[in-house]
Amino acid sequence: MRRAVLGLAGLAASTTLLVVVKGAADATPTPVSAPAVPSVPPSGSPAPPSGGPAAGAGPDGSPAPATTTSKKPKPKKTTSTKPPDDDGDDEPAPPPPPSNRKTFTGTREQNPYGAVQLEITVQGTRMVDIRAIEMPDSESRSDQLSDQVSVQLREEALQEQGSDLDTVSGATETSVSYRDSLRAAIEEWK
């Protein structure tokens, strides 16, 4: 996103998207040989006491570590086994779309962390939504890490994305895989 690239007048230029992808190519991650996530305690190491007191706010008003209130069930693993168009497990079914809406599915793009696949919704000549059908767990050890995180984050802070959210903030949408799948969905539409 920082190096990000150019725009595309409207959606007219899939060739321009090619340039986008090319321009972003230097951000492509190289396969990680060393773990990208250090400091995962070995399985026998003590976890923070469940429900225990926070370590206390840091000095100078730095953020306070959150306390753990309970263990959250392991987040559902979503990589690779899921049919491309099956999203029913993760989101409530939307109401039947008006007939002038169409959806187009992008290619399933592999990256070192998993796969990305997008679906766009088009109404008339406009794109009105982008949805991620599939996003990678960020590391191959994600099951282990998810357990680790679930223990340490506050339970109320770890929510499944649902219809009560209006939008999501995150750093995912700038990835090369995201752009590739989006480009494919747009080409499918055009």
Partner: protein, 257 residues
């Protein structure tokens, strides 16, 4: 960036690709559709104008010409002078960790996207559309109420589980920027060491101005572990931080929904 299911409601939603990023506009005012279309055209027209002026991928953009010394500062557009001044301020405020010259040449992209979305939101407000949400690749400026008639609710992506959020913030007048190193691995470079920054996995900054929030979140990631304390002290801004070892830290005043 999965959004809520399609609903029948007032307002308009549109997604376009500008600045290499999918930008989602959600207009929640119950205005005539023709008016909403004009407002959306205004927003995306402005964003494309900014892209044309600030793209470092176009040799003929103003920022490229300025970077090559072909445009003097005094002759630069008001927008470019404003962006350069803010980048200089943020370079000082972040102790050099936010650096518009990090790539070796002038590249203020890290500020321009948030700033341009902030301006778009202000223009919508001035144009009589005070209820809207603009999401530019995960960086968000929102105002007023959603079409459901309640404050906007924004999930912050969980770094290790892309189908989950690790917190939800809400409000009626907020900028929310997230920088993270999930999915692409550690790709934010510490400009002092020239090596990838480690320590923080995801930093979300919430406050009044999106360009500033975006610069703060990027700088905090670049700082590594000390960035958590640094970003927690930004006046007028709150934060949520996930560390590489899975700790979740947040400002007590974060507007959790």
């Amino acid at each position: 960036m999965t959004l809520a299911g399609i609903r029948t409601r007032p307002g308009l939603r549109r997604v376009e690709i500008v600045m290499g990023t999918a930008i989602s506009l959600d207009l929640a005012d119950d205005l005539p559709m023709s008016t909403l279309e004009e407002l959306a055209d205004m927003v995306f027209g402005w964003l494309r104008e900014v892209d044309g002026r600030f793209s470092t991928y176009r040799d003929d953009s103003e920022v490229s010409r300025f970077g090559r010394g072909e445009v003097a500062l005094a002759d630069a557009s008001e927008d470019l002078r404003f962006v350069l001044a803010r980048c200089a301020d943020l370079w000082g405020e972040t102790d050099g960790y936010f650096d518009g010259y990090a790539t070796g040449r002038l590249d203020p992209s890290g500020y321009v996207k948030g700033w341009s979305v902030q301006v778009a939101s202000e223009r919508l407000l001035a144009a009589g559309a005070p209820n809207h949400c603009v999401n530019a690749g995960g960086d968000i400026r929102l105002r007023g109420l959603s079409a459901a008639g309640r404050p906007w609710r924004v999930g912050v992506r969980h770094p290790w589980n892309p189908k989950a959020t690790c917190t939800v913030v809400g409000g009626t007048d907020l900028a929310i920027a997230t920088s993270g190193v999930y999915e692409r691995g550690h790709h934010v470079i510490d400009p002092r060491k020239g090596t990838p920054a480690r320590g923080l996995r995801s930093v979300t900054v919430v406050g009044p101005d999106l360009g500033t929030a975006d610069a703060y979140s990027t700088a905090a990631i670049a700082m590594g572990a000390p960035g958590a304390r640094w970003v927690g002290r930004r006046r007028g801004y709150t934060c949520a931080v996930v560390t590489d070892d899975g700790r979740f830290l947040r400002s007590p005043a974060l507007p959790v929904a």
